[in-house]
């Protein structure tokens, strides 16, 4: 992925992002992120209500080839772009063996890519496998943002690992994870990902991989050699700030959402008691019986509608919030790594400056570092853009969905009430 001659060092942070030409970018003038980020951090108070109008397809995003045009879109709205890799996770099944009980999911792939031997695959994977894939991706693509997985551990006493709800929530999250990877222009071509999707026996590959690792430095290993970064470049500092604020806001929303769920549940309890009182009354009345029964039925229907609404909220809304919290965690880590790389580079540069005589050997080292820094920055930036867009979409979908659900709820109640009125 690194290419091109090292240009002048951009990491002193004074230049705005637009001045940095990305090695892979064809056009770098349309980059809008800088004002973008500036706007987002300042408007976060309004919680995305006044984010600048980001169109779903950001044509300015760097990186070449048609694979980039496979924008990450989680709904089927393709905007006219073509994708050549489709992945789905479904069909959870329970496996009972003497040693343990666990769940596997079917992973189905359809693709026209030449990197794959067959156009279609169907394999079964368990959570462990997904976890392995994620670790592998992190190791082999450290400069990229790897999408998060749902939480690994659940308290055995508290949550039933085999309950329908839990399995379904997990399946959705795993599905999202793979789709995100599949739509990533770089990650989707990762060898491990390929194997994950296609291999019949993944465990054999895993063992092989371990052996290989010790032989080749297959990845660019960034040593965190205790280098201290003097100053983060502006745009990355802005990213860091944004992430901090965003985490905060997410936390608030999560808390509020949970409280809402709680209040709604309590309201539901009372409602369930309320309806039958009307029925009881109806039994001792003559003319009033019908309308009273009507009211009772109405309330029962409202209760059901409310129950659905609350369920949707905990099953669809909350998990997405949590997922983004995990995402942000990993993003912060990537930022830190980037800082490390830059620190290393700067330290080495300084060292060179002191030893002006030796111009042959060390500069290559310095150059290598510079390379790394630039690549890191570029990758990160690209991923950041993508993430921002996806996040925007995700949240838009999420909140719109929530709004819709609520609207549906009210409409249902409305319909019932109107029906009742006619009586």
């Amino acid at each position: 992925m690194s290419a091109g001659t090292p240009k002048s060092l951009p990491s002193s942070g004074q230049k705005s992002i637009q001045d940095i030409s990305h090695p892979l970018s064809a056009e770098d003038s349309v980059l809008t992120p800088s004002p973008d980020i500036g706007n987002t951090t300042s408007s976060i108070g309004e919680k995305d209500l006044s984010l600048p109008n980001g169109t779903p397809v950001d044509t300015s995003s760097p990186a070449s080839s048609s694979s980039l045009l496979n924008r990450l879109q989680l709904d089927d709205d393709l905007d006219g772009e073509t994708r050549d890799l489709f992945v789905t996770v479904d069909d959870p099944k329970k496996h009972v063996s003497t040693m343990e009980t666990y769940i596997t999911y079917r992973v189905s792939t359809k693709t026209t890519r030449t990197e794959f031997d067959l156009p279609e695959y169907s394999v079964r994977r368990r959570y462990q496998d997904f976890d392995w894939l994620r670790i592998k991706l992190e190791e082999s693509q450290p400069t990229h943002l790897i999408p998060p997985l749902p939480e690994k551990f659940v308290m055995k006493g508290v949550v039933d690992r085999f309950s329908e709800e839990f399995v379904e929530t997990r399946r959705k999250a795993l599905d999202k994870f793979l789709k995100r990877v599949a739509d990533h222009p770089v990650l989707s071509f990762n060898e491990h990902f390929n194997v994950f999707l296609s291999a019949k026996d993944l465990n054999a590959y895993k063992r092989q991989g371990l052996a290989l690792l010790t032989k080749m430095g297959e990845s660019v290993k960034y040593v965190t050699g205790g280098y201290k970064l003097r100053s983060r470049p502006l745009e990355f500092a802005a990213m860091g700030d944004y992430l901090d604020v965003f985490t905060q806001k997410l936390g608030t929303i999560d808390r509020i959402a949970q409280r809402i769920i709680k209040e709604q549940s309590e309201y539901l309890v009372e409602l369930r008691e309320y309806g039958p009182v009307y029925s009881g009354w109806a039994s001792s009345e003559g003319d009033l019986q019908e309308p009273l029964e009507g009211v009772s039925g109405c309330i029962a229907n409202c209760s059901t509608a409310l129950e659905e609404l609350t369920e949707d909220m905990s099953e669809d809304f909350l998990p997405v919030l949590r997922e983004y919290v995990l995402y942000i965690e990993s993003m912060k880590n990537v930022l830190k790594k980037r800082d490390q790389v830059q620190a290393e580079y700067e330290a080495k540069l300084e060292a060179v400056a002191f030893r002006k005589e030796e111009r042959t050997g060390v500069p290559t080292d310095v150059e290598k570092c510079q390379d790394r820094v630039e690549c890191f920055n570029a990758d990160l930036k690209a991923d950041w853009d993508r993430w921002q867009n996806n996040k925007r979409q995700d949240f838009r979908q999420l909140l719109t969905g929530m709004a819709d659900k609520n609207i549906q709820y009210y409409e249902k109640v409305l319909a019932f009430e109107q029906l009742e009125l006619e009586k």
Partner: protein
């Protein structure tokens, strides 16, 4: 004054226009704050003709309303007398206070008092009552006039009798059923009010938490409207809760009357028996007198005749009493039944309307909710 048979409400506009706080000394000479209500009356004809005369008005406090009602209860025992709004706030939930001085409570009470007056004024029997008319028209001296009717004494004796336990031998089936119904109605409405209060409480909580999301979700201003309408619905239920009590009271009074009749009949029968025994000399029933005569010798002829005389008088009195009571009872039953029918129709009508309004209110709430979320959705889609 008022013609017989015409309902006062058709001739006169009545309203309880305002409420005011006053300070005064009460019966134990301590300063207290109380609320007075302004009653305004105006002849309808004048209004219809386009004139706009100033209404007659006077101030009354709650205790005077209570007095009026008690008077009506005693004077017309066969009527299901409309109830007054509650003295103290009950079935409240967190947002509302249970304070009698709270302006919202006072306001709702004002409405309740007006409602009471209108109901009395539209009752075929009650609206003709002179004391009632006096209550509306003359501020001073009304209390004295009421007490002069002597209803208080009747009230006390009635109260004592009603509170005593007694069994009626041949209860009227219709009244028994009605009593059961009134018990049912009472228990169901009070249960309903309790649960409704909790429901409203929870709902309010839900709305409040949503408000934390931000401007976009502020249902704020509309919450107060919703709450007010909820309270109005609750008030309507409460009225019928108290009405149920009034209904039960009528049933009890009938029982009392029946019981008194039965007692009078029994009494008469036993007296007649005594006369028979005395006349024929046979002792069929045990009496202490009988015992003593056996032990100490027979009475003289004169003694017996004197006793017979007394008995005859008593029997005649007794027969009169039984006749009286029977007529009373029959009148009561007739009138009461008429009023029951009226009450039933009124109840069905009122409650149906209340339920419909409740449904309409809920629909309004839903529409608002849809609006709020549609707005939110629009905001989100601009992201």
């Amino acid at each position: 004054m008022v013609e017989e048979g015409a309902h006062l409400v058709k001739k006169m506009e009545i309203c309880v226009a305002e409420a005011e706080k006053r300070m005064g000394k009460n019966s134990v000479n301590i300063q207290e704050t109380y609320t007075v209500y302004l009653i305004e009356t105006r002849p309808i004809d004048a209004v219809a003709e386009g004139q706009n005369p100033a209404p007659d008005s006077l101030w009354r406090r709650y205790s005077e309303f209570e007095l009026l009602r008690n008077y009506l209860l005693v004077t017309y025992p066969f009527v299901v007398v409309p109830p007054l709004p509650e003295k103290r706030a009950e079935f409240v939930w967190h947002k509302l206070s249970a304070d009698n001085m709270d302006p919202d409570f006072v306001e709702r009470r004002r409405v309740g008092l007006e409602n009471f007056l209108l109901r009395v004024a539209s009752h075929s029997v009650l609206s003709n009552d002179k004391i009632f008319y006096h209550f509306l028209k003359e501020e001073s001296g009304w209390k004295e006039v009421v007490f002069e009717t002597g209803f208080q004494a009747k009230a006390d004796s009635r109260l004592r009798a009603l509170n005593a336990t007694f069994r009626v031998k041949t209860p009227d089936k219709r009244f028994t059923e009605l009593k059961h119904y009134s018990d049912e109605l009472q228990s169901v409405t009070s249960q309903l009010l309790r649960v409704r209060a909790r429901v409203a409480d929870r709902l309010y909580g839900v709305y409040k938490v949503h408000g934390n999301y931000g401007r976009v979700f502020r249902y704020a201003s509309s919450i107060d409207d919703i709450l007010e309408e909820e309270e109005h619905y609750a008030d309507q239920l409460k009225e019928y809760l108290f009405y149920a009590e009034a209904l039960r009271a009528v049933c009890r009074k009938h029982e009392l009357m029946q019981y008194e009749l039965e007692t009078a009949v029994l009494d008469l029968t036993s007296k007649k028996q005594q006369r028979e025994e005395l006349a024929t000399g046979t002792v069929r029933t045990f009496s202490f007198k009988g015992m003593t005569t056996k032990l100490f010798g027979q009475e003289t002829q004169e003694q017996r005749e004197a006793k017979l005389q007394v008995l005859e008088e008593q029997i005649i009195e007794g027969e009169e009493l039984v006749k009286e009571k029977t007529v009373e009872c029959e009148e009561f039953v007739k009138n009461a039944w008429v009023d029951m029918e009226r009450f039933k129709e009124q109840k069905d009508r009122d409650l149906k309307e209340a339920l419909i309004n409740y449904a309409i209110m809920q629909i309004g709430v839903c529409k608002k909710g849809i609006q709020v979320w549609a707005n939110a959705k629009e905001c989100f889609s601009k992201m």
